[in-house]
């Protein structure tokens, strides 16, 4: 054992009913390093770190912290041991303010025994400001966007002043700006000697921030190496056990008739004068910063947000889309950015989630054809390689990436031909990402039209036929795929219309 080793795991095993999530896993963490944990969706990364955070109890194995074997009994115990974590799925109390969430469980107490609310809000604001995000600490979490919530999670973990900080996909909900701030923070912490376990599916990040990497596959330990000594493709083949030829396998489909046209669409104070059109066979990428109005646009097309002005034409006819039901009937599908609260019904089964928007299609006189449902669900579980022990497994027990695939299946299953994907590859591993891109190709080839909202510029550049940039509720610019560059897009996203 090296001198600067703070944590060692040996022979870690974790089983759930019907699932072996971890099998004989080892891991070693040194003082002041950023140690990347890498693996496909469902490889067991989150499970491993949850054992460290006290959320799960290991089935077998040893945890050695500071040369002493210990048992991490509870989240509280983990905190006392100096371990803090940012979970992959948000664990915030929506009704409490950002500040209250950040200090939940470690409230400062006055001599009188009362909570020192002012102190909590002030310290929380301090942490948030240090992180370089504009979030009011006294604002309720339910009023924050996804990215802001993610930053609150980060702030919450930082508030603990831990020696070991675990980050489970902290950047999947963030835009470039915040990621930069987050990385600055990580570097600062490193210098202070904090050890960081970092999980992400964005390989570029690993090379930017990581020191060493441990790869898991199917719950098993594969290897640990220095980031400096490996290449991206080596890592990928360790993860998925095969070569990935291309990261953005874009195929251009024939551009067909216009299926969607939007004129002068506006929502007071949020969206202004949005106009664009969408044709069969194309992917329209929408880029923009946090809060630029992309999600709002998607929800107005899907009948969730009322529009104050403008017209929407679907397949040539003017439509008032008053409800998601109506949108679905018109062939529109929306993959929402927040899968936990909007995309999935966590306590229902994989099958029921996949089939939910299609229930109408599967039913005759009110009766649902269960056989057809099972058939369809089986097909998508296979097509998208969804890792689940059975169709009956509740989605809350699936790994994050597999949950995302279930959401995508929902819309494929209901045969929508105008698909709006809001951050479709959030939390998806490289292999599956490519699968989803292939799927998009297949869909456009079959004549579907796709709007892809994404905060990952390479994805926007790599997979779109046309690119639209939004800024403060307006369309700031539009490019065809060939002419756009990352700098250009950022310029429009930041500065506004040229």
């Amino acid at each position: 054992m090296k001198n600067d080793t703070v944590l060692e795991l040996h022979h870690i095993r974790k089983t759930f009913p019907g699932v072996v999530a971890l099998d004989d896993v080892r891991f070693e963490l040194r003082r002041g390093e950023v140690h990347i944990l890498l693996g496909e969706n469902g490889a067991g990364k989150s499970t491993l770190v949850k054992i460290l955070s006290g959320a799960y109890q290991k089935t077998a194995g040893q945890i050695i912290l500071d040369r002493q074997e210990i048992d991490i009994k509870s989240p509280r115990h983990a905190q006392e041991l100096g371990i803090a974590i940012i979970y992959q799925e948000f664990n915030l109390v929506p009704q409490l303010s950002a500040g209250e969430n950040i200090f939940l469980g470690q409230e400062q107490i006055h001599a009188s025994g009362l909570i020192n609310q002012r102190e909590i809000i002030a310290s929380a604001q301090g942490i948030l400001d240090d992180l370089g995000v504009e979030i009011e600490a006294r604002k309720a979490v339910s009023e924050l966007g996804v990215a802001q919530q993610q930053m609150v999670e980060v702030a919450k973990a930082l508030s603990l002043d831990a020696r070991i900080l675990i980050m489970d996909e902290p950047t999947s909900a963030l835009t470039e700006q915040e990621i930069t701030e987050l990385f600055n923070t990580i570097r600062r912490l490193k210098q202070k000697g904090v050890s960081i376990i970092y999980i992400s599916h964005r390989l570029e990040e690993l090379f930017e921030i990581g020191d060493r990497v441990t790869v898991l596959r199917d719950g098993k330990y594969i290897d640990t190496c220095n980031i400096a000594d490996v290449s991206k493709s080596e890592l990928i083949s360790m993860m998925v056990n095969r070569e990935l030829k291309e990261h953005f396998p874009k195929l251009r489909a024939a551009r067909g008739e216009e299926v969607l046209r939007v004129n002068g669409l506006g929502i007071n104070g949020v969206l202004h004068d949005i106009a664009f059109s969408l044709h069969r066979g194309e992917v329209l990428g929408i880029a923009g910063l946090l809060g630029s109005g992309r999600t709002e646009l998607a929800s107005s097309l899907f009948g969730v947000s009322r529009i104050d002005s403008g017209e929407i034409y679907v397949k040539g006819k003017r439509q008032r889309i008053k409800s998601p039901r109506r949108a679905i009937n018109l062939g529109i599908g929306l993959l929402t950015e927040d899968r936990k609260s909007q995309g999935l019904i966590m306590i229902l089964s994989t099958k029921d989630n996949i089939c939910l928007p299609s229930v109408e299609r599967f039913s005759r006189i009110g009766f649902v054809d269960t056989r057809e449902e099972i058939q369809a669900a089986t097909q998508y579980v296979g097509d998208l390689h969804i890792k689940t022990p059975s169709l009956q497994q509740q989605v809350m027990f699936l790994s994050g990436g597999n949950q995302q695939k279930v959401v995508i299946s929902k819309w494929l299953c209901c045969q929508a031909d105008i698909l709006i994907f809001d951050e479709p590859t959030r939390g998806i591993d490289v292999g599956s990402k490519v699968e989803i891109y292939h799927l998009m190709n297949r869909l456009t080839a079959e004549g579907a039209a796709i709007i892809m909202i994404s905060s990952e510029l390479p994805e926007i550049l790599g997979m779109s036929d046309r690119i639209m940039v939004m800024n403060q509720g307006r369309i700031a610019g539009e490019f065809s795929a060939g002419e756009a560059t990352q700098e250009q897009i950022l310029h429009y996203a930041l500065e506004g219309a040229a």
Partner: protein
């Protein structure tokens, strides 16, 4: 369905089923009167009213709602039905009236909850008072009694020795099971209870189906009113007091979560039977009224504790 899927599907009922069986065995040992065919038919018949109401409650609770108005709806549809019968309206139409009045009250709940955005607790609490008041006003507080033997057959008749209310109950359970597992209404009930926002975004007409579920609960209360009225040969404006608690208890003992999204019809039947068997057994044993309350409370707690312990085992 593989055996494993089967277990996953129905396994959660085993705990309560074992509770019921345990109760049966204890009573069998304690009193010779319990395990006789005639007594078991009694229990089934006595359970039928609560069991039928609990079916509607199960649907409602699966959508993460609650229906406190069932007892008052029983009273109101009972007295309307009774006055229809006394006005010599033909039996099938009178029965239909009873069901429609119940369904109507339920739909009003549903509309208040969906379009009025009222919490179900408040809407149905209000309806509990309103329907009760309506029943009292409608009758001037007096019962309406004395019906044709044709109508009374619904409670007193037997088919192959099985009392008609038991047959009705079984039919309701079979239909409800099919509705819950095989129809849109059932699918959407789970979806709404599991995550209403996600259900809306998946194109479920949440308002419509929610209103339907409350309507269904009202209609089943109407059905219970028919059986109750036929059995007592009288419709009382004060009938059905506290029925909501019994129905909720049966549902929750049967494994349906008050948080919504979870639950099975068969569990509710087991829950209702546990309560029915318990009351019957305490009567047979001649347990004092004071002690009865304590025993009922303890058994409910123990039954569900066992269920929970078993569930944890499986995890």
């Amino acid at each position: 369905m593989t055996p494993k899927d089967f277990l996953l599907h129905y396994g959660r009922q085993f705990g309560t089923l074992i509770g019921l069986l345990g109760l049966v065995i204890v009573l069998w040992i304690l009193t010779p009167y319990f395990l006789t065919i005639s007594n078991l038919l009694n229990v089934a018949q006595q359970t039928s009213i609560n069991a039928i109401i609990a079916v509607g409650m199960t649907f409602v609770i699966i959508t993460a709602g609650i229906d406190l108005s069932v007892g008052s709806i029983v009273a109101f549809s009972g007295v309307v039905l009774a006055s229809a019968l006394q006005a010599a309206i033909p039996l099938p139409i009178a029965i239909l009236i009873g069901l429609v009045v119940g369904a109507f009250c339920g739909l009003v709940n549903g509309v208040l909850i969906t379009y009025g955005r009222l919490p179900p607790f408040i809407s149905t609490l209000g309806m509990m008072s309103v329907a009760r008041g309506a029943a009292l006003l409608y009758t001037g507080g007096r019962p309406i009694s004395g019906f044709s033997s044709g109508f009374r057959y619904l409670a007193t008749g037997e088919i192959l020795y099985i009392p008609v209310p038991v047959i009705i109950m079984v039919l309701v359970y079979v239909v409800a099971h099919v509705v819950l597992t095989r129809t849109k209404l059932g699918r959407y009930a789970y979806a709404i209870g599991g995550n209403e926002e996600a259900a809306v975004l998946s194109g479920v007409s949440v308002k419509f189906y929610k209103a339907m579920v409350y309507g269904l609960s009202g209609m089943l209360s109407g059905l219970a009113a028919i059986i109750l009225t036929a059995r007592l040969n009288s419709a009382q404006p004060i009938a059905g007091m506290m029925y909501e608690l019994d129905a909720i208890a049966a549902t929750v003992i049967g494994g349906t979560s008050l948080m919504g999204g979870e639950g099975r019809i068969i569990g509710t039947l087991i829950g209702a039977l546990i309560m029915g068997v318990l009351r019957n057994g305490l009567n047979l044993l001649g347990v004092s009224s004071f002690v009865q309350q304590t025993v009922i409370g303890s058994v409910i707690i123990i039954a569900v504790l066992m269920d929970m312990a078993l569930k944890k085992q499986r995890k």
